[in-house]
Every structure is written in structure tokens, then in C-alpha cells.
């Protein structure tokens, strides 16, 4: 882009003196700062202008400067750390310095919730087996499942706030309507659990409600574990690395989906075709629930209006 950015800057600043709400002026001033290589000011003004591309470009420049400056020493520190760790591990194995900690960890697993938490990590490698444990009431608890759901909701909300400006669907945090986000997260979870259990009971599913709730909770572990780190890392990324962000977020969601499929199959002891049928029926039931809710809402609203109108008319003319 060629243009008299710097020459235009004072004029746009003058515009802002008369009206500080002209987004275009912020954009133009940000462009000027960018051309002047005053990146920190440019970043601020791109933020005002809600220009994600400009913000991303500027951030790339700023990050580049930091990398240029510290990359060498950072790599040195990493390498040094790696050597120190290696030496430490070897010595530790010989002297057993961390033995008390290990014992403590072992004892902690006697507490149910801690055990439930440790169980979460087992799903990464052995999902099918792990669901079997749940079904046999060997591991996992309802309390932990509920905590996990709460955690998922919390992660959802917090990640909206901490996702970097470049990738955040909301340009500014005041636009986040927290109550709505909570409903949007909790409602599908509740509907899924209810619908899946109901559908399973009439289609030879073996799982009980408790198993469905715990199983579904554990199925969401990829989201529970990775959504927040991804949101935090997004602060360091620019549009150039958009692939990393979108791929990882999609990966987490797909993973959750696969986990749910496995969950249905194992908990209810279905064949592959039965699993597919069950899931489709579950989704249809969820839709029906919503539709019914909406219809009831409309009907009761009408009734309310009707009664209100009668009362008003009577009070006015009576």
C-alpha cells in the first residue's frame, strides 16, 4: 500500500477532536503509526478501530522484535534446562529424592475425587476400557461429573475473556453476555443427557442415567483440559498462524465428539450401527425438546396476555 499516511495523520487527529467515535479515523491513525513503525501505538489504535488484521500484523512486528532479541538466549535457557533436567532425573533415580512426594500422591489417590481426576487422564490412551470401568461402577463419580460440567462451563466463559483479540469473536469484553453463554453451554449438556438416557432405555441400551451423566462428562475431557491453554496461547499468535488456532480448537471439538460416540457405544453396549442410530435419535429428541419448550412458552404467553387484557378491560370499563 502506498499513501501519505504520515501526512494524513494530523488531519485524522483533528477529526477525532471533533468526534471521537469515528472508527475510520482510528484506523487511519493506526495505519500511520504502523508506517512510522511506532508499533505499540499502532496496536492501541487498531484495537480502538477493532481491526483484527491490522492488529495482527502489528503484533507480528512486535513479537518479531521480541523474538529477534531474546530467541537466542531463550533457546540457550531451554537447552540448559534440558541438560539440568536430565542430570537431575538420573541423580533422583539413584537417590530417591522425590520418593516422599510420590508416596503423598499415592495416598492422595485414596480420596475419591482425586482418583476421579486421575482417571480423567486415562481416557487419553484407553477410552473404551475407561468407559467400561464407569459402567461397572468401578471408577468415576456423579459428584466429579458435575464438577467437570461446571468446569467446562467455566472454561467456556473464561476462554471468551482470555482469547486474544485477533481470534476473539467479541471485539470487546463488554459485548460478552455471560448469562447467555452459560445457558448456551448448560442447555445442550442437560438435553443430551436426558435425551440419550431416554432413547437408550427404549432401544435396549444398557447404561443407566448415572452412567450416561458420568460418561458424557468424561467425554468432554479434551475441552476441559485443552480449551483454556489454547485460548491463552492465542494471545501469542497472529493471523499468519491462524492454522494452529483453528486446527487445535477443531481438534478438541472433534475429539469430544469421538469420545461421545465411544461413550454411547460402550455404556449401552451397542454395535456400530446401533450406536449411530442411537446418536441420531438422541439429536432428534433434543430438537423435539426445544420445540416443545418453545410451543409451551408461546401458549402460556398467549394465556397470560389474554388474562391481562381481560383484567385491563374490566378495570377500565367496568
Amino acid at each position: 500500500m502506498e499513501g501519505f499516511y504520515t501526512e494524513a495523520k494530523p488531519h485524522f487527529e483533528n477529526v477525532l477532536t471533533y468526534d471521537g467515535l469515528v472508527i475510520m479515523a482510528y484506523q487511519a491513525i493506526a495505519d500511520a503509526y504502523y508506517k512510522e513503525q511506532d508499533y505499540s501505538n499502532a496496536l492501541q489504535f487498531y484495537r480502538y478501530a477493532e481491526d483484527r488484521d491490522g492488529y495482527s500484523e502489528t503484533f507480528w512486528e512486535l513479537r518479531n522484535a521480541v523474538l529477534q532479541r531474546y530467541l537466542g538466549s531463550a533457546l540457550g535457557v531451554l537447552f540448559g534446562g534440558w541438560i539440568v533436567m536430565g542430570v537431575f532425573t538420573r541423580l533422583e533415580r539413584r537417590h530417591g529424592w522425590l520418593e516422599p512426594l510420590r508416596r503423598l500422591a499415592h495416598n492422595a489417590r485414596q480420596i475419591r475425587l482425586v482418583d476421579d481426576l486421575v482417571f480423567l487422564f486415562r481416557f487419553i490412551r484407553q477410552p473404551a476400557d475407561s468407559f467400561y470401568y464407569i459402567k461397572q461402577n468401578l471408577r468415576g463419580s456423579l459428584l466429579f461429573a458435575l464438577l467437570l460440567y461446571a468446569w467446562v462451563v467455566l472454561v467456556r466463559i473464561v476462554s471468551l475473556y482470555v482469547t486474544g483479540f485477533v481470534f476473539n469473536p467479541y471485539a470487546s469484553s463488554w459485548q460478552i453476555y455471560v448469562e447467555m453463554e452459560i445457558v448456551n453451554t448448560v442447555l445442550p449438556i442437560v438435553l443430551w443427557n436426558a435425551a440419550n438416557y431416554l432413547v437408550a432405555t427404549i432401544s435396549d441400551g444398557e447404561g443407566r442415567l448415572r452412567h450416561v451423566i458420568i460418561g458424557s462428562a468424561y467425554s468432554l475431557f479434551p475441552y476441559a483440559l485443552f480449551a483454556l491453554p489454547i485460548a491463552l496461547i492465542s494471545n501469542l499468535l497472529t493471523r499468519n498462524e491462524v492454522f494452529i488456532y483453528t486446527f487445535s480448537t477443531q481438534l478438541v471439538l472433534v475429539w469430544c465428539g469421538i469420545m461421545l460416540v465411544i461413550m454411547v457405544k460402550e455404556i449401552h453396549n451397542y454395535s456400530a450401527s446401533e450406536t449411530l442410530k442411537n446418536i441420531l435419535t438422541t439429536l432428534f429428541t433434543m430438537a423435539m425438546f426445544l420445540l416443545t419448550g418453545y410451543i409451551l412458552y408461546v401458549l402460556f404467553n398467549q394465556l397470560y396476555e389474554f388474562i391481562l387484557a381481560i383484567i385491563q378491560e374490566v378495570s377500565l370499563r367496568g
Partner: protein
């Protein structure tokens, strides 16, 4: 009436008057002549005519003698149906006891004022109904069972009229027999003109089928035909606005304006459109009419009943060929009661008639006073006599400047709010140090915890991020020590929408349609009932006054007046005026008001957001500084914040022309920081952007306006197109040149788009 003697008859035969009128032609509004008494009287009549001719001849001869000056010319004729009822050293009042119309003779100028049109001339466009309206002293509008309104006058409906003489006037009771409606009227002569009263206790609605809608009094007082008389009507629009008499008008309809704006209690929700600047409501119940500048004029002031009053202005060319304007008073109104949420409902008439007395003063002026400045000065004298205006302190040798600072506002985070600081106390201190203005009028907006859009507390509490109460006290004391004043912004009426701190169920005022009143000023808000308003205001002011020496800058309450139909404590709009006056008078700290209506001028230390003209309606020809002239020398007034000005230089010149002090709205932080708060309506405010402009404009204005501060305006004239001169009581004159070319007269030059202070007049 029979006992009222007519002193004119024995002296001269009645035909004398007719001739004299033709000669003198003082009254350009052609005369409604009484039917000649000569007709059908036989010999006696002829003798009388001869005698009359003789006297006339003598008089004509006498008229040619040089010693007879204008003042000695005999008064213009008054038709026989008018009986003299009162006289003082300036006026003589004649009343027609059939229509209650009056004529007022100004003895100084021999000018005869007519309260209506007695007889039509050729070319007059008045139908039967308008004729009756023009002829009658009183007309009413009634509402039938279907809430349909119709206007009837004394002259075109069955009525019973009882007239009794009272001290310096008459008292009348008019019963409109077909509708069972009775209205009383007291017409009295007073020192400056005529006083008209419609006491509420005289009003009767005897037939349940008909309700009294409006009462019109003397609608055609001083009416003129088209452009036959040079002169104008003065409207209370903005600072004052003129409609010059002309045969035609660009306007398509009349100007009807409710004093103090629409009654929210009747409409419920204030119409709001963010793309439209709402018109300024009428802030004083006054209008005027000038028959020839420098010749004759009158001013009409509503003393009581203005809350239900309305000004109705008809320029010639709309419906009729007359220019006339008058007050109308609303006793009952039809309203639409929705009965379900989809909007269906019924139109019905309010259950209870509005209770209020009406008192109107008509003040008549002649000679040099007969122009809009004279009218304003007459109104100023009226206010002083009634104690509604006081001279403020002008000991500071410099003009004031209003600096309003936004403390901050809140932004939503999760379920809570985060405070966005915009100007802390120390930053304000830094700005004031930097500006070094000798007489700042500082207002702090958004000082309460969490800032501007949070509900202000009922005891003094400052947002912690702005500073401590001790800092506040110290800053206020510093400002006062340096010659300025410090006030906290407060809107006593507003219950901010969707905010905590009050109960929507119990605390807010209700409209007649059973909905909560909603409106918009700086924020969207409900309106408190008077009881809650008073309780909160008294609590806050007592606490503030006990802790520190600061004032309050009160928004909304100055210009918003609503009736409240909440059943627990209904409040009539007229009663709200005195309720506000009482609670505000008792406030233990000095008060400034944003655009206060006339009834609060006496309580104000300062007037903020003085309009810089009128609303620019198509009816009007030009804006005039009527309001600034009224207040000049008494109440210091500050214009709207200049950082929001669309045409800065013109607005600065207007400030100087009208004697208005400048205002700026400031924040220390860049404006963009609060883009996501509800204070985003302040679209430019950063000190870094405006500091230099403030210093420059203050210096320029102070040099021009400081020498005339505290002085009354005595003359305001247009010297040429775009050049105006304002003269003050101490003889100094300010000439303002809006044009792009220098203006020169008598060797004195005012540069283009500039102003000049002169010791004497140009």
C-alpha cells in the same frame, strides 16, 4: 353592568369617535364599528348629528393649532358595546359584557388594544366558528363521550353569562348550557396592563356526557391582518424567536407548543430517536407581540397554570389571514389506553379534571420599549417584582467558564462491572493548574461509585479510583479559593434504567396508562415519584453539605415536569412545580440548573446549557436573545459544551452576542477509553485535544465580556446582515460580525467573523 357609567357619552356624540378613528388611524386593525346610534331616531338623531358636525369642525380647527401635540390627540373610539370598567394612570379598560371582549386604551400613546375582532373586513378569511372564536373573550373545547373534541365560543353557542364588577375590573361566569360546563373569568386592570384569572373553583362540569377539554382566553388579543402592520410575534422557543407579520408564511401549520414540553404523565414514554436531536421544550410561559417596533407592544406572562398551558401561534396565511397567538389551558385530555400488549385498546378521557388556577398578565409597552428587548426587560421586571429572579454575585472581575469533567463510567465484566476512570481528582487538579482560568465553574459528572451510569448514592460516596473524600474537599476548596465554584452533577429525577438502588415497583412515577414513565437525558431512565425524589435529594444534600463546601449541578429537574398517576400519591403537574420549588429552596447548598424553567430561576446560582438560538422551526423568521436579556445581570448563564459544537466560530460569536459564558466537557484520558461505556455519547472530550482551544477562547471571550459582566442588556440590534450589536446598562457595546467581510461604520471596523467591544455605541 347597568350601574357602570360611560363617561364618554355626555361629552361627545357617539359618531365623533368614528370620524376620529379615521383621522387618527392609530389602530391599523380595522375597526369594528358599533352600529350607528343615529339610525331611526328621527329629529333627535339629526340634531345630534348636527351637533356632532359642529364639534368636529371645532376640533379639526383646534387640531391645526401647533400647541396640540400627539399626546393631546383625543383617544380613538371605542364601540358602544364596550363599557369602561376600570382606569389607572396609564390605561383605561373597556369591556363588552356580551362577549367578555375588552379594549384597552393606552393613555400615554393613545393606542387602543383589541382583545378580538368585532367585525370582519373584506378579504378576511374567518368562518363562523373562527369568527365566534375571534369575537369572544373565552372559548372552550369540550370532549364528548367518544373523546372527540370540539371548540365552542361565547358567541356561537347557548350560554348564560353573569358579569359582576370587581375592584378594577369584572368577574364573569360563563355557562355553556348545551354542555353543562361553567367557566369563571376575572379580568382586572393592573399597573402594567391587564390581569386575567380563571379560578379552578369556578369550573363546573355539570353534564357527565361532556368534559371540559381546553379553555382559551382572549385568543385574538392584538391580532393583525397579514402584513398590514409592521411588527412581529415573539415565541418562547429556545432563547426566543420571532415571526414577522406577513401576508403569507412558509409554514404549513400552526405552532402549538406545550409549556415545559409534553407531560410524560400523559404519554408515558418519551419518544426517543438517537439520530434526532430532540427539540428544546418551551422553558418560560411567555409570548409577546409588537405592533410597529418602537411603537406598541404587549407581553403575556402566565403566572399560574403554565404547567397545563400551551401557546398557540397562528401566522397569517394558515387557516386565516390573521396573525394571532394565545394561551390555551388543558383541563382534560383524551388518551389511548392499551388493553393488551399487542397494542389494541380504547381512547378515553382522563377521569379527574386537572386542578389548577390560571393567572395571566398582559403587560403593555409603548415607545422605545416596544421591541423584543423591551419585552424581555418587562418580563425581567415582572420576575423581580415576584421575587423569581435575584442578582447574583459578580465580585470576580472575570467571566465564568463551565468545565464539566467526567469522572468515569462502568464496563461490564462477567457478572460484574469494572470502573473505567476518565478523570481522577488529581488529574482534574492537573488540568485546572494547566488551564489557569480565574473563574471556573467546575462540575464533576460520574463521581459516584462505578461512575456516571450507576445510581448516585443517598449519602456522599466517591468512586474509590477517583480519589478520597478528603481529596475532593481539598480540590473543591482550592477551586473556591481561586475564585471558582465546584459542583457535583446530580439528576434527582432519574432512576437509571436497569440499575440497582431503587425499586421499579414502588419508587418510580406512573403514567395515566399505568406504565412507568420512561425518558432519556444522558442515560435512559425512569422518573422517581416526588416522595422518593425528595427523600433521596434531602438525604444526599444534607450529607454533602455536612461534609464539604460544594454545590450541586441539577440536571433534568430544571426542564422536565411530569404528572404522576401512581395511585398511592398522585401528583398534578402544576402541583409538581411548587413541590419542586419547596424542596429545592430548602436545599442546604448552592444549586445550578441545566436549562431551568422559569419557576427555578430564582433558586439557581447558574444556568447551564443555555440554548444558542431557537429550534429553527419553519414558522419562525429569526432567533432573538430574549432569554439572555431577561437573565443578563442576574443569573450567569453558560452555553452548551463547545466541544460538541458543529460550528465553533459561529457558536463562539453567538456566545459573545448573547452574553453567554463558555462551557467545555472534559476528560483527562483519551475519549476512546470509554467507547464501550454508556458515556459514549460524549464523543470528544480529551484535555489533550481541547486544552489549547479552551485557553484561547476563554481569553478572547473574557476580554470582550468581562467589562459587561453583571450588567443588564439594554439594546440589541441588527446593524447589517450578519452584524449585531448588544448594548449593556453601563454603556458598553459589543458588536459581533458573523460575515466573512469586515464591517465598518463611523470609522470603527469589526473584523470578519469577530467581535469588538466599544465604550460607546456605534
Amino acid at each position: 353592568m347597568a350601574n357602570l357609567v360611560n363617561p364618554r357619552t355626555p361629552i361627545l356624540p357617539s359618531s365623533f369617535g368614528r370620524h376620529q378613528r379615521r383621522k387618527g388611524e392609530q389602530n391599523l386593525l380595522a375597526p369594528a364599528l358599533s352600529p350607528s346610534p343615529l339610525m331611526g331616531r328621527g329629529w333627535g338623531g339629526v340634531k345630534a348629528a348636527l351637533r356632532a358636525a359642529l364639534v368636529l369642525l371645532l376640533l379639526l380647527l383646534a387640531g391645526s393649532f401647533p400647541r396640540l401635540s400627539k399626546a393631546d390627540t383625543p383617544p380613538p373610539a371605542v364601540p358602544a358595546s364596550y363599557q369602561p370598567v376600570a382606569e389607572n394612570d396609564r390605561f383605561q379598560l373597556y369591556v363588552d359584557s356580551a362577549t367578555l371582549a375588552f379594549k384597552l386604551l393606552d393613555k400615554g400613546s393613545n393606542y387602543l388594544w383589541h382583545s378580538g375582532i368585532d367585525e370582519l373586513m373584506e378579504g378576511d378569511r374567518l368562518n363562523q366558528s373562527w369568527q365566534a372564536f375571534a369575537k369572544s373573550g373565552v372559548s372552550i373545547e369540550y370532549l364528548d363521550e367518544k373523546a372527540i373534541n370540539k371548540r365552542v365560543s361565547i358567541a356561537n353557542t347557548n350560554h348564560a353569562l353573569k358579569v359582576t364588577p370587581v375592584e378594577q375590573g369584572v368577574s364573569a361566569q360563563i355557562t355553556f348550557s348545551d354542555y353543562g360546563i361553567t367557566v369563571g373569568l376575572v379580568l382586572q386592570l393592573e399597573a402594567d396592563g391587564v390581569r386575567v384569572e380563571v379560578p379552578f373553583q369556578s369550573i363546573r362540569e355539570g353534564d357527565a356526557k361532556f368534559r371540559l377539554g381546553r379553555v382559551y382566553v382572549y385568543p385574538f388579543l392584538g391580532a393583525t391582518r397579514g402584513g398590514s402592520v409592521p411588527g412581529y410575534m415573539l415565541l418562547p422557543d429556545g432563547t426566543g424567536s420571532l415571526i414577522r407579520f406577513a401576508d403569507s408564511t412558509k409554514a404549513k401549520n400552526m405552532f402549538y407548543g406545550r409549556y415545559y414540553g409534553a407531560d410524560l404523565g400523559m404519554i408515558g414514554i418519551m419518544p426517543f430517536n438517537s439520530r434526532v436531536v430532540p427539540p428544546l421544550p418551551i422553558s418560560f410561559p411567555v409570548f409577546g407581540m409588537v405592533h410597529g417596533e418602537g411603537q406598541n407592544a404587549f407581553l403575556s406572562v402566565v403566572e399560574k397554570g403554565s404547567a397545563y398551558g400551551e401557546v398557540q401561534v397562528h401566522p397569517a396565511g394558515i387557516l386565516t389571514n390573521f396573525n394571532f397567538l394565545h394561551h390555551a389551558f388543558i383541563y382534560n385530555e383524551a388518551y389511548f389506553q392499551a388493553t393488551n400488549r399487542s397494542g389494541a385498546g380504547v381512547t378515553t378521557v382522563q377521569k379527574q379534571t386537572n386542578a389548577f388556577d390560571v393567572v395571566i398578565h398582559y403587560r403593555f409597552l409603548t415607545g422605545d420599549a416596544a421591541n423584543y428587548v423591551g419585552l424581555a426587560r418587562s418580563y425581567q421586571r415582572y420576575l423581580l417584582e415576584k421575587g423569581l429572579l435575584h442578582r447574583s454575585d459578580t465580585s470576580n472581575p472575570n467571566i465564568g467558564i463551565r468545565l464539566e469533567f467526567l469522572g468515569g463510567d462502568k464496563e461490564k465484566v462477567l457478572f460484574w462491572y469494572r470502573f473505567v476512570p476518565m478523570t481522577t481528582l488529581s488529574q482534574m487538579h492537573e488540568i485546572l493548574e494547566g488551564l489557569q482560568l480565574p473563574n471556573p465553574e467546575v462540575i464533576y459528572y460520574g463521581w459516584q461509585p462505578l461512575g456516571a451510569s450507576n445510581m448516585p448514592p443517598t449519602s456522599l460516596a466517591l468512586e474509590g479510583a477517583l480519589g478520597s473524600l478528603d481529596d475532593l474537599r481539598a480540590l473543591a476548596d482550592t477551586i473556591v479559593a481561586n475564585g471558582g465554584r465546584f459542583s457535583l452533577y446530580y439528576d434527582p429525577q432519574a432512576a437509571y434504567w436497569e440499575e440497582a438502588g431503587y425499586s421499579v415497583r414502588n419508587d418510580v412515577a406512573m403514567a395515566i396508562t399505568n406504565v412507568n414513565l420512561e425518558g432519556y437525558n444522558r442515560l435512559y431512565n425512569y422518573y422517581f415519584t416526588f416522595d422518593v425524589l425528595k427523600q433521596r435529594f434531602v438525604a444526599l444534600t444534607a450529607d454533602v453539605a455536612a461534609r464539604m463546601n460544594v454545590g450541586l449541578a441539577l440536571d433534568s429537574i430544571g426542564w422536565t415536569l411530569y404528572s404522576d398517576f401512581r395511585q398511592s400519591a398522585p401528583l398534578n403537574r402544576e402541583a409538581a412545580i411548587s413541590a419542586y420549588q419547596t424542596v429545592l429552596t430548602e436545599a442546604p447548598l448552592p444549586l445550578g440548573f441545566y436549562r431551568p424553567n422559569d419557576y427555578l430561576w430564582g433558586l439557581a446560582q447558574a444556568y447551564y446549557d443555555m440554548p444558542l438560538g431557537d429550534n429553527g422551526y419553519i414558522y419562525t423568521d429569526e432567533a432573538v436573545p430574549f432569554l439572555p436579556v431577561v437573565l443578563a445581570g442576574y443569573l450567569p448563564n453558560y452555553g452548551p459544551p463547545l466541544n460538541f459544537s458543529a460550528n465553533l466560530q459561529d457558536d463562539l460569536l453567538r456566545h459573545v452576542e448573547y452574553g453567554i459564558y463558555p462551557s467545555y466537557f472534559l476528560t483527562y484520558e483519551p475519549t476512546a477509553n470509554m467507547l464501550n461505556t454508556r458515556s459514549a455519547w460524549i464523543y470528544t472530550s480529551a484535555y489533550a485535544q481541547w486544552g489549547e482551544q479552551i485557553r484561547r477562547s476563554y481569553q478572547w471571550m473574557n476580554a470582550l465580556l468581562a467589562p459587561v459582566r453583571g450588567q443588564e442588556i439594554t439594546v440589541h440590534v441588527k446593524l447589517a446582515e450578519g452584524v449585531f450589536a448588544t448594548t449593556y446598562a453601563n454603556g458598553r457595546q459589543i458588536v459581533v460580525n458573523y460575515t466573512d467581510r469586515p464591517f465598518t461604520r463611523d470609522g470603527t471596523t469589526v473584523e470578519a467573523r469577530n467581535a469588538l467591544l466599544l465604550e460607546g455605541g456605534l
